[in-house]
Amino acid sequence: MHLILFLVFAGFCLVGAINLLLQSHPINSALSLIVVMVSLAVLYLLLGAEFLAAAQVIVYAGAIMVLFTFVIMLLNASREERTLGSRAALRVGFPSVVAILAIIATVILHTQGLGVARLSDGITSTEELSAVLFTKLLLPFEVTSVLILIAILGAVALAGHDARDPQGIRERTGGK
């Protein structure tokens, strides 16, 4: 059962990720990414991380990707243009990716003592997680909250219209 679920959702993951690359319209890519994320949530469940599975769906699929689609809609992003870009970089980049993948795969396949995952394995409950998070790691947690607050402010400052220029006149006229 575990094997089947793993194969199915790993397949979903891979298909979604590849589809993300193949699709030329950003919204399709975004939907592919959502598929990847939801499938990953299932994989997390299989690995016994149920809280993370829910958080994955809520945070990634439900918040971050909504933001992405929102921006895609807002900017009315269309199919990407066939620009040339940097061929040389691609010549460097693809071998590098292949090298990275090869190295990591080699290392993983040569690592001894990696265990196995079963359905009957213990599940990390939300209590255990929060017990550590809110005692030992309280400070990082709080710092993260501050980080998010700052990010919100930054996002508002960056994307929001200038308060003195609500109609965006200055932007359109090049600041004059």
């Binding site: 059962m1 919204i27 399709n28 939907l31 959502i34 939801v38 949530a41 149920e50 809280f51 599975a53 829910a54 958080a55 769906v57 809520i58 699929a61 439900g62 918040a63 909504v66 689609t69 929102f70 809609m73 807002l74 599940i123 409950s125 939300t126 209590e127």
Partner: protein, 348 residues
């Protein structure tokens, strides 16, 4: 229990729940039409069948039989996926809702619940948050400005009120110490109505917030801005017709039912009797199970009634009022509620 049995039982449960759910959706529509009719001092549907009881079936047939129009300018893949996504999400979240006491027959897995999940509440929230896509994609792929505006409004509204909704539930979770819906219900089952979260659990503020947020989440009046007919000629589903429109319609009502279920489970003691031990149990498994189911359906029904009542009574908010209300009032209130509940629990 063999694997074949397991799969069969699961399929059976899913099928039954889905059918019941769809029927419930259909009759919720009828309930709304009837009730709104009575509120507006008219009859509502009354011609098809006795008291118009067959009206939903006829409506469904009509939707199926209507010409399926796909406008030329739409982005087809998403235009087709969107209603499925919306209805799918609305139906999936019922999967973790327990309807009554855990009973099983002939070695079956527990009936009255498709899956008992440790993090049931989070699953519901997660699925709800996915539901946004149905609306957003529908509006965007329609390639129509009304649809797009409706979709943008809707996305913004859903994302905003999701926060308040989630935060309002934290108090309940704190009290129960679990995210499992069954545990939350059983924790309220001691003294009947008095131990319900909304009363004995001191979560009335949370309930109020939940109610507001739930109305907004389901795009129901008075927060039905995304489909404000007078402004947007129907909102995100302007360009949809026939069965696809019906799917959005069903999704909305399915969501209403889900939200009613969640409210029942979290604040009103779920399937437990409001009288606690005053009425002794019948010592008969089937009778007890039926009774629990009865209480649950009754509570959910009262919520649906409330929904319709509010819709028939209150005027619609303005969009900025809606956003203000969500961010400036509900959110801080929810946070205050969390703080107060924590303090109360800590120094009880």
């Amino acid at each position: 229990m063999t694997i074949v049995q397991f799969i069969l039982w699961s399929v059976l449960k899913v099928a039954v729940v889905t059918v019941v759910m769809l029927l419930a959706v259909a009759y919720t529509v009828l309930l709304e039409r009837k009730l709104v009719g009575r509120i507006q001092n008219r009859w509502g549907p009354s011609r098809v069948g006795p008291f118009g009881l067959l009206q939903p079936l006829v409506d469904g047939a009509k939707s199926f039989l209507k010409e399926d129009i796909i406008p030329t300018g739409v982005y087809r893949p998403l235009y087709l996926i969107a209603p499925i996504l919306a209805l799918g999400c609305a139906l999936i979240s019922i999967g973790v809702v327990p309807f009554g006491v855990p009973v099983s027959v002939a070695g079956s897995p527990p009936l009255f619940q498709i899956a008992n999940v440790n993090i049931g509440l989070l699953v519901i929230l997660a699925v709800t948050s996915i539901g946004v896509y149905g609306i957003a994609l529908a509006g965007w792929s329609s390639n129509s400005k009304y649809s797009l505006l409706g979709a943008l409004r809707s996305s913004a509204q859903l994302v905003s009120y999701e926060l308040a909704l989630g935060l309002s539930l934290v108090g309940v979770v704190l009290r129960a110490g679990s995210l499992n819906l069954r545990v939350i219900v059983e924790q309220q089952a001691t003294q009947g109505m008095l131990s319900w979260n909304v009363f004995g659990g001191m979560q009335f503020v949370a309930f109020f917030i939940y109610l507001m947020a739930a109305y907004a989440e389901t795009n129901r009046s008075p927060f039905d801005l995304p489909e404000a007919e007078s402004e947007l000629t129907g909102g995100y589903h302007t360009e949809y017709s026939s069965m696809k429109f019906a799917m959005f319609f069903m999704a909305e009502y399915a969501n209403m039912i889900t939200v009613g279920c969640v409210a029942t489970l979290l604040f009103f003691g779920g399937w437990t009797s409001p009288f606690g031990d005053l009425i002794p149990p019948f010592e008969n498994v089937f009778f007890d199970a039926g009774l629990s189911l009865f209480w649950f359906v009754l509570k959910v029904f009262s919520f649906l009634f409330l929904y319709v009542w509010v819709r028939g009574t209150l005027p619609r908010f303005r969009y900025d009022q809606l956003m203000n209300f969500g961010w400036r009032w509900l959110m801080p209130l929810a946070i205050l509620n969390i703080v107060a509940t924590s303090l109360w629990l800590a120094y009880r």
